[in-house]
Subunit: 282 residues, 2 copies
Amino acid sequence: MRGASGRDPERSVELLWAGAGRGNRAGLSLERIVQAGVAVADAEGLGDLTMQKVADRLGFTAMSLYRHVPGREHLIDLMYDHAIGADPAPEPEGGWRPRLEACARRSWQRHQAHPWLAEVRGNRRVPGPNTMAVFERMLSVLADTGLRPNEVVAAAELVGRFVDTQALTLVEAAEEERGSEVSNREWWEARDSLYAKFDRYPTVTALWEAGGFDDPEDPFEFGLRRVLDGLELLIRERDEISDEITACQMCGAPVRQTAAGRRRAYCSRACQQRAYRRRRSS
Amino acid sequence: MRGASGRDPERSVELLWAGAGRGNRAGLSLERIVQAGVAVADAEGLGDLTMQKVADRLGFTAMSLYRHVPGREHLIDLMYDHAIGADPAPEPEGGWRPRLEACARRSWQRHQAHPWLAEVRGNRRVPGPNTMAVFERMLSVLADTGLRPNEVVAAAELVGRFVDTQALTLVEAAEEERGSEVSNREWWEARDSLYAKFDRYPTVTALWEAGGFDDPEDPFEFGLRRVLDGLELLIRERDEISDEITACQMCGAPVRQTAAGRRRAYCSRACQQRAYRRRRSS
DNA sequence: CTTCCTTGTTTATGAGATAAACAAATGTAT
DNA sequence: ATACATTTGTTTATCTCATAAACAAGGAAG
């Protein structure tokens, strides 16, 4: 089960959010184990992160780790937050868009530095302080765009997941190349027997001949652009509507139009009723 | 290694693209194994797909499967294409957008029917006929939008990956709930000790209090909308430019503007030279 | 009948996580 | 200093899987 720190998440909470622990000079320590774990994962990917390798790197037995960390999944929780690191201060100028783009690019950089981050899966991961700081930052950028609260959250998750996905694709590719004589490119180039079957797919064939597969767009840049454009459209839409203020047909008070649903003519239910009665009596 | 059918992909090509095999009435057969595999994965997810369980379901030993399938990863290749199934015919009316959206929704439906599809990872998977048919369809929708060939491919992959990602998130959640007393909602609701630490994140707190996490947007609908909007912007941009035709400043012939680079003033290199000579001599 | 091929079974190996028991070292109280 | 408790690391053992290798039962061909 990739099911995260599933059982006993409270241990993860404690470990992640505890103040700095004591440091036994010579022996093992949480800190040291986490660092070793990160080193192993950086070098070999999360799939090849074994308790044995982490322990070896420190000169101890695999079982020794369990005196400090409840288990592998908890270790991964800790490694994750450690690798995310402190969110760097510099905030770019400008509106929400350059700032959101900067969030995405910072995340992208973190994934370059620690490709295995994207391999940390599961919906039951306890976030640590660094993870939360990153989340906070992204939300704060989106918070003053005029989006509704749940849209802010949805937008942040869309962008976050987009970056994750692209990163995951890359790690998976890297992992496949590591410990395989051939590069992915070579591997695909060797699939002639497969391509031989592709006559019956006219568009695939046409695009192939038009060079559509030769010089691919950078999927990260391409996708990020589309996603941000899509969000911009939504945000503009909300801006227009929430900026729009009409006069109440009954009392003349300002009426703020909401984003969805039927246009409002009255400022309140009371005015709506008054208008109704007036119509009826006339 | 999630590294796909890594070694010996040729076997996957053969098995996927072979005509229908013979059927030993009583005994095992590729077909039967693949079906059993799909059934197991449908019920328990790909992570819990073991050769043992597949064999049990057919009343044979685990090792018996190896007489028909080279190994687990090859089996997964076969299951994938089998579960994708034949791409249904009905093509919606209208322009690229409703048709592309329909592709995305069909894919989404396939993922509902077989959630584990999203768990099939790796860049070295041999696609089967059904997989290719789906890809062909999506590309054909994008092919006549005015996008350049490599953009068509990038757009298809963006949409495809988007659906995959959302589906993956859902399976992971489902897998975590299966075989865990508590639902994900309950699990998160039980994390009070964690939330207690969140005072220092003002935006998170504000959004929480504003109910931004209570009634979340449907991530699939929300994201699909943004992605399609983003693509629409790009497609419009390309349309405008490639529709735009100016007159050659030298001979008046129509000049089709290209999408990128400096605007063209002349219809040909020859006219450009003529203009240059005229300027010099005057 | 003998020999080979197909198909299924039994046995065995190796990787990994981690539980349980054991042992050494380090504290702490008297 | 002595006796007991706690911490920290090690050894052993167990369990789950994939899959290699050897074995066996039936059928087909000569």
